[in-house]
């Protein structure tokens, strides 16, 4: 079976996120004063061939730990859907 995996990689809370700050300033300059605590991360999507949804998620988790996210500075969230 093929599963579509959605990975959301975000800078770890508490770490300075200068990109998020710059976007927040830009939003504020555009008149969106209500926007706050902006953080900028990265979204990655991939197909994973696996026997089950759990297996697909376990493999995707391994991919995140080894490459897709930096364990020192980033956290990730996974969503797995059946194709």
């Amino acid at each position: 079976m093929t599963f579509r995996v959605h990975v959301r990689v975000m800078p770890r809370t508490g770490l300075l996120d200068p990109q998020g700050q710059a976007v927040e300033h830009a939003l504020s300059a555009l008149g969106f004063a209500e926007a706050g605590a902006v953080r900028v991360g990265r979204a990655i999507e991939l197909d994973v061939d696996a026997g089950s949804r759990d297996e697909a998620e376990a493999r995707a988790r391994l991919m995140c730990d080894k490459l897709l996210a930096n364990p020192v500075t980033e956290d990730y969230l996974l969503a797995v859907e059946e194709d």
């Binding site: 800078p11 770490l15 300075l16 200068p18 990109q19 710059a22 490459l67 897709l68 930096n70 020192v72 500075t73």
Partner: protein, 238 residues
């Protein structure tokens, strides 16, 4: 003669400068392609600056899986001197051969200018020719140089003296702002506990020849070369 391998990744762009700097200090220098698996009997290995793999995903994240990195890891595990400059430092962090990570500069802009640093640790393969506390002016050129690490790692680095270079505050003598990138504890370079693996953001290869206007970086080349030659001489005499 001391053999220095400069590893080239697709996107390395300080490879020739580094080769020339090492050569001018008396080493036999040569390039090793990232797809190679053999360092050809290198005594010293340098990962030069640049933008390996276009900095895709994260700086250094893809280069770390290059075929040559197995040989680089074995070289370092055997105690061989290994220096990562700028992108090379980012690769060493991604490969977890040095702790921590290098993130986007706090000011978001690419910073290319000379900075002042102090040599905090001289008991390493690449800084033993410096006096402790020596103040150097070296160029930096990076967009991702903000060193970060977990509080435990930072405590360990400071307690064990593994911070090699630190950006220093501006003084009357220095027109440069300290800390060009927001690095934690003003860290510009670190080493492993054995001192054979060193990673630094500044570019010593751009400050190792009077023609270039700055010579403070020469020690990063003379240190490992003279150490290696001393060891080689001692072996011959035995």
């Amino acid at each position: 003669m001391t053999r220095i391998a400069i590893v080239r990744f697709p996107g390395s762009n300080c490879d020739f400068d580094t080769l020339r700097a090492a050569q001018s200090h008396g080493a036999e220098t040569y390039f090793v392609w990232h797809r190679d698996t053999d360092l050809k009997d290198a005594d010293i290995v340098i990962l030069p600056g640049g933008f390996s793999y276009g900095d895709y995903l994260r700086t250094g994240a893809i280069a770390r899986f290059s075929p040559i990195m197995g040989a680089v890891q074995r070289h370092a595990a055997d105690g061989g001197p290994l220096l990562g400059i700028c992108n090379g430092f980012q690769i060493l962090c991604e490969a977890q051969m040095l702790p921590g990570a290098l993130l986007r500069n706090a000011g978001l802009t690419f910073v290319s200018k000379p900075v002042d640093v102090t040599v905090e640790q001289t008991d390493t393969a690449f800084t033993c020719d410096y006096e402790p506390g020596a103040r150097l002016r070296l160029p930096v050129a990076h967009g991702e140089g903000r060193y970060v690490a977990s509080p435990d790692t930072l405590r360990m680095l400071e307690a064990e003296g593994l911070v090699v270079l630190r950006y220093v505050a501006a003084t009357e003598r220095s027109p440069f702002q300290p800390n060009p990138n927001g690095a934690t504890n003003h860290i510009a370079g670190i080493c492993n506990a054995a001192g054979n693996i060193v990673g630094i953001m500044p570019h010593p290869e751009r400050a190792s020849d009077r023609l270039l206007g700055l010579t403070g970086g020469a020690g990063f080349f003379t240190s490992p070369i003279s150490s290696h030659q001393n060891v080689a001489t001692a072996r011959t005499q035995e």
